[in-house]
Symmetry: C2
DNA sequence: CCGGTTCTGGAGTTGACACTCCATTCTGCG
DNA sequence: CGCAGAATGGAGTGTCAACTCCAGAACCGG
């Protein structure tokens, strides 16, 4: 992107600090609700520094999208690795619900909220968000594909479609949870689609406490 | 609310024009992206008129939320009446997908987008959106409850939870559809949850082309 | 048709915010 | 150590948007 001036170690650290501060503020207040001044104050830098590292606010937002994408996908990776079983799906569900409880249902999905706010006003950012969601969907699909390869799911199951359905349920559940300040929506959404996967499963299911 | 000054017939018409114009602009550009000036221009009124009918922008936004709630639920009512069969669910799904095609996937859900943008910055508006979603979920639940009363669904099915799961899938599908500019996500989301309902159904299903 | 209220137009005012400029200090490399 | 380029501070600047004011026109009940 803007790699004209090479970044020194210190510069890179400052840049990261700005992105992290912006991500935090934009997560709770939204992009429009956080001014560059707020970001500077939170990051402990001056305005000239922000514009030294980013051409404009839009460029900063793009960096925030990239940052949030990693921030979401990276910690989920160990859970993704277990999505080839119904138990793994349930563990993933529980972890997602726990996160919302810890956050008191504030903010919704860091990627989905950005996407919703930016979709119609910043096409570049929109595409970045799409890429993030594609990676997310692919991780889910890989789990389902492994499940199917193992013979636990019928070969007729379209794992791409099913993964997209699960991701959509997750996003809608997070949205309703944020708005209603209650995780019941997220739980209902994920339980519904996971129950559907379980129903498709040909393997006998072990009983789990609930 | 602000019913201090009684509204005359003409005044009511002007007020409605303002709300409709604001709703249209905020649907595509977002709340933060539409200025009161834009709204005045679109409605063909002067700035003083807007502030004659609304205390401030926040009050206008509240009116827009109410407007969009009716705008969504009212045209869906005939479809809601048929949600007591799997065929009815599929007809509803098709109608929702058609709307997105006509809109070229722009804007997402008029209520969900508002909720996402306002949840953390306007608690009153947030609660209004929650009420709208509650009505939406209740309509779906009523269909499922009728289905269960008819004996088509097992009595063990929690229709409230299932309705919430369906609404969440719809919202997530709309979000992903808006961001990716493709209705596959909405289709996958609704098809997944409807397939789940069909699987729960005890009645023999008639074959439908797809 | 008349008096009070509502409605409308248009020109302010105020503050916030994205972005800039330039001088100074620091960093890394040879 | 010396210098080119990067990093920083702080004080602007111009624009735009939310909101106000007041005078005049339209409305409506009696």
């Amino acid at each position: 992107m803007t790699d004209g001036p090479r970044l020194t170690r210190k510069g890179l650290a400052t840049r990261s600090r700005i992105v992290a501060a912006a991500a935090g503020l934009m997560f709770t207040r939204g992009v429009a609700g956080t001014s560059t001044e707020d970001v500077c104050a939170a990051a402990g830098v001056s305005s000239s520094q922000l514009y030294h590292y980013f051409a404009d606010k839009r460029a900063l937002v793009r960096a925030v999208v990239a940052h949030q994408t990693e921030q979401i996908l990276t910690p989920q990776e160990p859970l993704f690795a277990r999505l080839d079983t119904v138990d793994g799906l349930r563990a993933w569900r529980d972890a997602l619900v726990d996160v919302q409880h810890e956050r008191r249902c504030v903010g919704g999905c860091p990627l989905g909220s950005l996407g919703s706010e930016l979709a119609e006003i910043d096409d570049g950012a929109r595409v970045d968000v799409v890429d993030g969601f594609a990676r997310w969907a692919a991780a889910i699909r890989d789990g389902l594909a492994a499940m199917r390869a193992r013979g636990a799911l019928p070969v007729t199951v379209d794992v791409d479609e099913l993964a997209l359905g699960i991701l959509a349920a997750l996003q809608g559940g997070l949205l309703l949870t944020e708005i209603s300040r209650d995780t019941v929506a997220l739980e209902a959404a994920l339980d519904t689609v996971i129950a559907h996967v379980a129903a498709l499963t040909t393997e006998p299911e072990e009983l789990v406490g609930g």
